[in-house]
């Protein structure tokens, strides 16, 4: 049993946040204009992710063609230096494959696939540093890079994690917190309350789930706004260049 006080009786968490506060969220769009069709960089606390999208393009393998819509491929690679203890990770690690599938399922719903028949859209994600909320950061980075690549989507997908400490819901966990409580990750569609992703690997009592989802959705909306700001900032920059 860890003796760490994850949520003090005074209402402060290990890193000084209150229960409903996000970590620092920084994002950049179009970070690698030369090497990809769309790219982004997301920092959520100390979790850092680069995303590069290429496509829509002709699939390398004919058999992968789908005439009804685009095939979406995710490819997450986790750097061996991303955790405090270096660990070599193979590409086919179960954990990574699971992440890929989860992301594919999430984005299949929000990309308007029928606009790009017989093509592939591949999303390459590189995890540079991990400090909790990995799946959420990956989701956010993918959303931004897809937007940058000009791929039609119904709306933003913004991800966030939230955990349950005893009976208190806590938003946006870091690694320390993740190892001490059960938590879920959600992806919310735009400003709605629709979920396109919900991942829960532990048990959470049903009575507490609703509170937890409520703060997670509120957190996602804030993330969406932050991403929206960045997209608009970048768009204005480009527009000003066009005028010249």
């Amino acid at each position: 049993m860890s003796r760490l006080e994850l949520y003090s009786p005074e209402g402060l968490r290990v890193d000084g946040r209150r229960w409903n506060e996000l970590r620092r969220f920084d994002c950049r769009i179009n970070t690698h204009p030369q090497s990809a069709d769309g790219s982004s960089y997301v920092e959520q606390g100390n979790t850092k992710v680069i995303c590069m999208v290429s496509g829509p393009k002709e699939p390398s393998n004919k058999s992968q063609q789908n005439s009804s819509g685009a095939v979406i491929e995710f490819n997450v690679s986790i750097a061996s230096f991303s955790t405090t203890n270096r660990k070599k990770r193979s590409k086919n690690e179960k954990r990574t494959i699971e992440l890929n599938t989860t992301l594919e399922r999430t984005f299949e719903q929000s990309i308007i696939r029928k606009l790009y028949p017989r093509t592939t859209i591949s999303v390459n994600l590189h995890v540079l540093a991990q400090d909790g909320g990995l799946l959420a950061a990956l989701t956010n980075a993918s959303t931004l890079a897809l937007i940058d690549a000009g791929i039609s989507m119904y709306d933003y997908i913004s991800g966030i994690s939230a955990g349950l400490h005893d009976i208190s819901p806590l938003l946006d966990l870091n690694t320390l917190e993740e190892s001490g409580m059960s938590f879920l990750t959600i992806g919310v569609v735009g400003n709605s309350e629709k979920l396109s992703l919900l991942l829960l690997e532990d048990k959470i009592p049903l009575d507490n789930l609703e509170d937890l989802l409520a703060i997670a959705i509120a957190g996602s909306h804030r993330i969406r706004d932050l991403m929206d700001q960045e997209v608009r900032r970048h768009a204005n920059l480009r527009a000003s260049k066009l005028v010249k």
Partner: protein, 988 residues
């Protein structure tokens, strides 16, 4: 380290904490985010601004402002708040908890974290103080406040940085409260015993004081002086050269040593008969490692967690067969070190490699059987080289009269306190009131034991009362066994139903309530309860009836405590921490408040009560056809005492339905019992006696050996039956967290000595240990025609070789290890006494969850939380048993005081300078020293035969051996040094 603060759009400031952790030799750099904020309140009611900006926590609760608007005043009339340094929290926690001083205390996060790293128990006590709010303690998170967070400077040590952080908070509070923010000016006093910190605070212009200075400035300074811990008072005059113990090893050396197998860690057990001999059981050796002599024990207390190092083989010994008690050794306090010759611990340097060889040899010698007879009993010896965790707590004792100087001046003087626990050394305290406190029971705390002091240094906490007064003795034994006996707090009592004693089932029967609808109405069943006479907390009731198909319906109904004790309430937390009710001879310390235990939950006759019922359908041979669990409403028809029930059953003229059903129960219980015995259940014995109290004078009257009637066993069988059925059900539903109870098989080594005794003294008798069945059978075979009590004696002695049963969550062991050795069942739990045991409360909730009555609380589904609960109740259970026994022992002593008599006794242990005799009539055992029986110089001790022969006082030759029946004069004497009354036995 550069301060790289960055402001976020939300107003928070983020920075990072970077530190290096070294694990397994390698160094890793860890970077963590650290958020600083400006909305951390000062928690003072004086403050005008903080109260305007409060943020609720996750549950919507708003923080309470605790620090008083009119804080206590110093003797100079200034109202003040206190901020303490870490060393004050660590060393003077008793003062902080005392009701006489330290109100309105601010504990900074820096202090709290430091305390947590050094001592978790003290941290918990601080937290409890904050939570109770009675003493107005608050925690101020200075590390998260933008204005008080500081960054470690270059070349500054972590300690210096933390000291500076605390000073910064003092400064902040000063500024915050003594400007126009607050209605009244409040002095902020910084109490520290760290010289450096004190000096720097003074030069910063802060009001810093040492603990002594602070106490002196209080109006009631006089009374508090004795309670200042000794080790941190600055004017400590050392007593050089008194004696010197070897220094402890460094942490690095210990960790390395444990890793490469040259050092071992374990719990120290001091031998009951020799306070200079301890043993440590470590998994690497079959036999425990012996630790002989005070040098080798090296300041360790009984039950400390210690690290030991093996001694060279020349120094291996047999466990001593001599009795040594401290009172005989250190009467004057300056007696030199004890008689052992092996004090000169080899000073030659032994390399690690040699040590490893030594360890291997030790392992070989403890496992191989082909060693010579003489070497067979050799045990590896070791010395203590470090103490991982002290078991220090409050100790009860009394001042040794010989250590008090005749001196009328009012100066604090050193004197010795002799503790009630014989296994512990005497403690040196400094007090002005030594002569006042003579002949009183007092509570002391140990502060330190430095390597150049022969005795540990402690300080006085409070006085309980005269030695031998019933109140003082009872309180002393409750304290000694760590039993919480204070009345229930307000927050606990507020969880009780509002109607109190007027609560009735009718008023609380709401058919609309879905939970109530699930209750089964069993008021038509002829339920009755059978308990000891005058029992008020009736946990259980029974009924039985014949079904038309020839089978029987049997019901066990248990008080529905969890209807009142809801999870996550203050009441539940209190019950969980008490763990069990404690039964003493003259009083009972309840786990639950009176109104529940003796009324609302208690299954009293003639009234409706909520119950949790287990209903079986069993056939003629008591085989289960079907079992059902349900919450119910019952109405007990009668509350019997065991004897009353027995008479009613035996009375042939009574043939009413209730008596009939009791006869059915008795019949079935006999079948259950015979099945259990067939399976190998053990029938052990204890020398327990019962003390009758005179009703009017409440003086102890007479002592009686506990008697068992058929009806006792009737109730017991059905309770076992219910417990087993429930255990299966909850294990089914919660495979990882079901609360169960196991009893491990005793290791063969436990019985080694007993079997050796049997082999030597009783031809052809032996106990076999292959299974509980084999043991039960062999116990039955060990009969001595000449002495019917011998069998019981043997059972008592075997009980002492058993392992203790324990509670555990089902996930911690594999199914085969659930086995309950004593009862010979595969799975077992406690379900039937929720009024007096917390385990049963948890089991009730789990069973309610398993049958879908209500959702099981999260804390009983979480393995970690269950581990915590289980650890606590195992400890409480053990302590309650010890306290109960100690209480009986005390009262038996009081009874014997008035009736000196000649009794039969049995020798159960034989040493070369005495024997231990058990007197069954009083359930006491005592030591008779050789000097008191005869001429010590003529004695011959035959260790293989467990026989001591000597010339007695009349000049006759006498032989005493284990299992011998002897006649002894029993009387009780008060031991002047320890103030403890004990049985003195004199051989006739």
């Amino acid at each position: 380290m550069a301060d790289d603060r960055k402001r976020l759009s939300t107003g928070l400031v983020v920075t990072s904490k970077v530190f290096v952790s070294s694990k397994n030799g390698g160094a890793t750099k860890i970077v963590r985010e650290h958020y600083l904020r400006d909305d951390i309140p000062c928690y003072s009611k004086c403050c005008n601004i903080c109260q305007l900006d409060v943020k609720p926590n996750a549950l919507g609760e708003i923080p309470e402002f605790v620090l008083s608007q009119e804080p206590n005043k110093l003797s100079n009339g200034h109202p003040h708040y206190v901020i303490i340094d870490t060393n004050i929290a660590l060393h003077a926690i008793d003062l902080l908890e005392s009701a006489e001083c330290f109100y309105d205390v601010i504990i900074t996060q820096t202090v709290l974290d430091e305390v947590k790293n050094v001592s978790f128990p003290i941290y918990s006590r601080l937290r409890a103080l904050v939570k109770a709010q009675e003493k107005r303690f608050v925690i101020y998170h200075n590390e998260f406040n933008e204005q008080t967070y500081i960054v470690r400077e270059k070349n500054e040590s972590i300690n210096d940085r933390n000291d500076r952080a605390i000073r910064k908070s003092v400064e902040w509070y000063n500024k915050h409260l003594n400007t126009n923010n607050s209605k009244t000016n409040v002095d902020i006093i910084f109490v520290t015993n760290d010289k450096d910190n004190y000096r720097k605070a003074k030069s910063d212009g802060l009001d810093a004081r040492t603990l002594t200075e602070y106490i002196d400035s209080l109006p009631n300074a006089e009374d508090l002086h004795d309670m200042i811990p000794q080790n941190i008072t600055s004017d400590e005059q050392d007593m050089p050269g008194e004696t010197s113990y070897p220094e402890y090893y460094s942490t690095a050396r210990i960790l390395g040593g444990i890793k490469n197998g040259t050092l071992y860690q374990g719990i120290l057990n001091i031998s009951t008969y020799n306070f200079l001999e301890g043993s440590v059981s470590v998994p690497a050796f079959k036999k425990p490692l012996l630790i002989l002599g005070s040098k080798n024990l090296n300041r360790a207390f009984n039950s400390d967690s210690v690290v030991v190092e093996l001694l060279p083989k020349e120094l291996w010994r047999e466990p001593s067969s001599t009795i040594v008690e401290e009172e005989n050794v250190g009467e004057e306090g300056n007696v030199d070190d004890e008689n052992e010759g092996e004090n000169q611990v080899s000073t030659k340097i032994i390399s690690d490699k040699e040590r490893q060889l030594l360890a291997q040899e030790a392992m070989r010698s403890t496992s191989s059987k082909e060693l010579q007879q003489q070497e067979k009993r050799l045990q590896p010896t070791a010395k203590v080289v470090a103490i991982m965790r002290r078991s220090w707590r409050y100790y009860v004792g009394q001042i040794s009269p010989s250590s008090v100087q005749d001196d009328s001046s009012n100066v604090a003087r050193n004197c010795f306190v002799i503790l009630m626990d014989k296994l512990l050394p005497r403690i040196r305290i400094k007090t002005r009131k030594a002569r006042e406190l003579l002949g009183k029971r007092i509570v002391v705390v140990v502060d330190s034991w430095s390597s150049n002091s022969k005795y540990p240094q402690g300080h006085f906490v409070r006085c309980l009362g005269d030695v031998e007064s019933a109140e003082a003795e009872t309180e002393a034994l409750l304290l000694e066994h760590d039993v919480e006996y204070r009345p229930f707090s307000k927050s606990v009592l507020s969880c009780l139903p509002e109607d109190g004693d007027n609560w009735t089932v009718e008023n609380n029967s709401n058919p609309e309530d879905p939970k109530f609808a699930k209750r089964v109405d069993l008021r038509d069943r002829l339920v009755c309860s059978i308990d000891p006479p005058n029992c008020v907390d009736i946990d259980d009731a029974l009924h039985a009836r014949k079904l038309p198909n020839g089978n029987y319906e049997v019901g066990v109904h248990i008080a529905d405590v969890t209807h009142f004790v809801r999870a996550n309430t203050a009441l539940d937390a209190e019950a969980a921490s008490r763990g069990t009710s404690v039964y003493l001879v003259e009083k009972r310390i309840d786990m639950l408040p009176m109104v529940l235990g003796t009324n609302l939950c208690s299954l009293k006759p003639y009234v409706d009560r909520f119950a949790f019922s287990v209903i079986w359908e069993v056939d003629e041979d008591a085989n289960i056809v079907k079992v059902d669990f349900m919450k119910s409403i019952i109405k007990s028809r009668k509350a019997f005492a065991y004897e009353e029930a027995q008479i009613r059953i035996d009375d042939k003229t009574q043939n009413d339905e209730l008596t009939q059903s009791m006869r059915i129960l008795l019949n079935l219980s006999k079948k259950l019992k015979s099945k259990r015995v067939k399976a190998g259940a053990l029938n052990l014995a204890s020398p327990e006696v019962k003390v009758h109290m005179d009703n009017e004078t409440s003086d102890p009257g007479e002592v009686e050996i506990k008697q068992l009637l058929e009806t006792n066993s009737l109730v017991e069988e059905f309770m076992l039956f219910a417990n087993i059925s429930v255990a299966r059900k909850i294990f089914d539903a919660y495979s990882q967290t079901a609360m169960l109870r196991r009893h491990a098989a005793p290791p063969a080594t436990n019985f080694e000595e007993l079997n050796n005794m049997l082999r030597a003294r009783k031809k052809g008798m032996a106990l076999s240990l292959e299974s509980s069945k084999a043991l039960a059978d062999s116990l039955d075979r060990c009969m001595d025609e000449k002495d019917p009590y011998f069998n019981t004696l043997l059972r008592i002695m075997s009980t002492r070789c058993m392992m203790a049963a324990e509670y555990f969550p089902s996930g911690s062991y594999g199914y085969p290890e659930f086995w309950h050795y004593g009862l010979a069942v595969d799975i077992y739990t406690h379900f039937t006494s929720p009024i007096r045991r917390y385990c049963d409360v948890v089991v009730h909730r789990q069973l309610a969850g398993a049958i879908g009555y209500e959702q099981l609380d999260l804390s009983h589904r979480d393995k970690n939380k269950m581990e915590i609960i289980v650890k606590n109740i195992n400890k409480r259970h053990r302590n309650a048993q010890f306290a109960g026994r100690a209480s009986i022992e005390y009262y038996v002593g009081q009874v014997m005081k008035n009736n000196e008599s000649k009794q039969e006794g049995y020798i159960i242990k034989c040493f070369n300078n005495g024997v231990v005799v058990l007197v069954p009539t009083f359930g006491v055992e005592g030591l008779i020293r050789l000097e008191h029986m005869g001429d010590a110089s003529t004695s011959i001790f035959d260790e293989d035969k467990f026989e001591l022969s000597f010339t007695d006082l009349k000049g006759n030759n006498r032989k005493l051996a284990v299992f011998d029946k002897v006649h002894v004069h029993v009387r009780s004497v008060k031991d002047d040094t320890s103030g403890k009354r004990k049985a003195q036995l004199v051989l006739v």
